[in-house]
């Protein structure tokens, strides 16, 4: 089941690389975070780790529902461009994405040999980090870039829950706090833009 979820995580990320609509992108991001939250719940259940269960629930609440909802609201309020065409042509992306994946899988091979359990998760989370960087690179508009940043956060979170069996509670909540802070700052940036125009 965990394998299935982790596959779904990568799959949603890759589909979001090809998306040309903002709301579609938000949907894929939200599904991506949903799989992440479910993953945290499953692993937390397996390890019997209360902290991870809590972070899983918080992830689902904030990242799956909260952030896409806020971003959608923002986009309606400030009239974002909703058609977001990737700058990298699909032909190249088709070659680039497998290349990135192969590269990261081989890059992380020595690491995966060192960690006994969950060894392929690290490879997948490193590659999803690179894919979210690609997502940021291939768009010129600001909204997809924000989503790229958020999915990078997701990739880090995935690494945190799989490679280390969960980070200390304090750190995880700090990360959530920072995420919310990021949203607040974005909101302010957009608001100011509005006030000027």
């Amino acid at each position: 089941m965990i394998d299935f979820l982790i596959g779904l995580f990568l799959a949603t990320l890759i589909i979001s690389l090809f998306t040309t609509r903002l709301y579609g992108l938000l949907l894929w991001y939200s599904l991506n975070s949903l799989t992440l939250g479910l993953l945290a719940l499953f692993i937390g259940h397996e390890l019997d780790d209360m902290a991870m269960l809590i972070t899983g629930i918080v992830t689902i609440l904030i990242k799956t529902i909260g952030i896409p909802y806020i971003l959608k609201n923002l986009s309606q309020k400030f009239h974002f461009v909703r058609q977001i065409n990737p700058e990298i042509k699909v032909q190249y992306a088709i070659m680039l994405i497998p290349a990135i994946l192969v590269f990261t899988f081989y890059l992380s091979e020595p690491i995966t040999q060192m960690i006994n359990e969950n060894n392929n998760y690290i490879a997948i989370s490193i590659s999803s980090l690179f894919l979210s960087l690609l997502l940021m690179m291939e768009h010129k508009n600001i909204a997809p870039k924000i989503i790229g940043f958020l999915s990078m956060e997701n990739a880090l979170f995935l690494l945190g829950i799989t490679a280390t069996d969960g980070m200390p509670m304090l750190v995880e909540f700090g990360i959530f706090l920072d995420l919310l802070m990021a949203i607040v700052v974005m909101n302010l940036l957009f608001h100011n833009e509005e006030a000027k125009v």
Partner: protein, 471 residues
């Protein structure tokens, strides 16, 4: 209690920024001095002193860095008093600037004092996000663009740091459990880490993230562009406080990496910094305005500090760091006076000062300018001597002495390119261009005097002893 005292000036600033009162900011410049009291106390206390359990620990290194950044903070608060005299800024934005400055300061204080990788990261992220808004205070389209730019690139850099931290944590968790986040325990058990490759990859990613944040090799110009688009105090905060928080993290991580595998660390940092200085020196040669010039030279000095630190020249790195952290904010703050229109043109910037204040101002600025290229009385001169000495000493142990001497000669050539450019710029500031009258306000002069005094204090024997005591 100690923590509260340290955070008090920033908290006062935060609360004051909520009141719509113009007089409020005058109080701030006095309250910010209050941070010096707990600082002195920290210096007197036996080290390491646990401020908050195992999470925040003050030892020799971060007490020194905290002192340096606090002085910068005081200087910036003083200079902020007259920000509206030099640039156009609405009262609302002004207050918001203060509010985010307070958050920034709190975040970095946590970062500098932290003994925990996670808290270090959280503080850094908090500071990064609050900077975004400080950049945005300037109501120009370029500032808006650069604020987004900073948001995105800074977030990438910060995420890379977190990524590396997770990998390091994963590498040390089998032996340390949840305590694998603490710097001091990691340092003590660095030799026992079972998977050094994992640690090294984590360290490499952390340092690339930090290097991006400090503007090293591939990202040379992004900081310069941002500092140019935002108000000048932001640049001072960057070079004085933010970079000190980043560099303290670098110090701590590389200290652990030295234990794990010194050769890999040295070669990695050595090539990276050399490449950075190579590119930056020629960028400086082409620089056409103050902001770009100063921020590029900041990159150069940061690269030198990192290089000295990994070569084992702890003292040199710390001295260089202190000197840079005092000089660069002073210069950035003075740019507000040198060219008030935000164009930062070089020619004629040092002309047109009247009265005692004016004379003193240009005298101090020219001293700073000459000190930043490490002319002898400046602490940078000594630190570079010690630093190159440390590099030679480290090469003597291996059989690459000739290569190291070659590298140092190469570095000196690059530094002389920078030296030449700065001298040319100084002459152009003094003797070219037209004469525009410029006003100097007492608070600015006062902050410059503070920086000058602390710079001199760096040269005292007692400081030398303290810095040499930090291992």
């Amino acid at each position: 209690m100690m923590l509260f005292l340290l955070l008090l000036p920033a908290l006062i600033m935060f609360v004051m920024s909520l009141y719509k009162n113009d007089k409020a900011k005058r109080i701030l410049s006095f309250t910010s001095f209050a941070i010096l009291l707990p600082m002195i106390k920290l210096f007197l206390l036996p080290k390491p002193y646990h401020i908050w359990g195992d999470y925040l620990i003050a030892d020799g290194l971060n007490t020194y860095i905290l002192l340096v950044s606090s002085i910068v903070g005081i200087g910036v608060t003083l200079a902020l008093l007259t920000l509206d005299k030099h640039v156009k800024v609405s009262p609302n934005a002004y207050r918001r600037f203060y509010r985010f400055f307070a958050i920034f300061w709190i975040g970095l204080m946590f970062s500098i004092l932290s003994n925990n990788m996670g808290i270090y990261w959280i503080g850094l992220e908090l500071a990064t996000l609050s900077t975004v808004y400080m950049i945005k205070t300037n109501h120009s389209s370029s500032a808006h663009k650069e604020a987004w730019n900073y948001m995105i690139v800074g977030a990438i850099a910060i995420s890379l740091v977190l990524f590396g931290i997770i990998l390091i944590y994963a590498s040390a968790k089998p032996i340390l459990g949840e305590d694998a986040m603490s710097f001091n325990l990691l340092l003590a058990h660095a030799k026992d880490i079972k998977s050094p490759f994992l640690f090294e990859i984590g360290f490499a990613i952390v340092s690339v993230g930090m290097f991006v944040k400090m503007g090293f090799f591939p990202m040379n110009l992004w900081l310069a562009n941002i500092e140019r688009a935002s108000f000048y105090p932001v640049a001072a905060l960057f070079s004085g406080i933010l970079e000190s928080a980043v560099i303290v993290g670098f110090f701590r991580f590389s200290k652990i990496a030295m234990e794990v595998n010194y050769d890999h660390l040295f070669i990695f940092i050595f090539t990276y910094t050399l490449l950075t200085i190579f590119i930056v020196s020629f960028l400086i040669f082409r620089a056409k305005d103050f902001m770009r010039l100063f921020s590029l030279s900041g990159i150069e000095h940061m690269a030198l500090i990192a290089l000295f630190w990994v070569s084992g020249g702890t003292f040199a790195a710390l001295l260089h760091f202190g000197a840079h952290a005092f000089l660069k904010p002073a210069l950035f703050l003075s740019t507000g006076v040198l060219e008030s229109n935000g164009k930062y043109k070089i020619a004629g910037a040092l002309k047109g000062y009247k009265g005692k204040k004016g004379t003193m101002f240009w005298f101090l600025v020219s001293l700073f300018l000459l000190a930043i290229i490490s002319l002898p009385p400046s602490p940078m001169f000594f630190s570079e001597l010690y630093g190159f000495g440390a590099m030679i000493a480290i090469a003597k142990k291996s059989d690459h002495l000739l290569a190291m001497i070659g590298a140092i000669l190469f570095l000196l050539i690059l530094l002389s390119v920078i030296f030449y450019r700065f001298v040319a710029i100084y002459q152009s500031m003094k003797y070219e261009g037209e004469k525009n009258e410029k006003r100097v306000y007492p608070s600015e002069l006062f902050s410059l005097v503070i920086f000058a005094l602390s710079l001199m204090a760096l040269l005292l024997p007692i400081t030398f002893d303290y810095l040499k005591g930090i291992s």
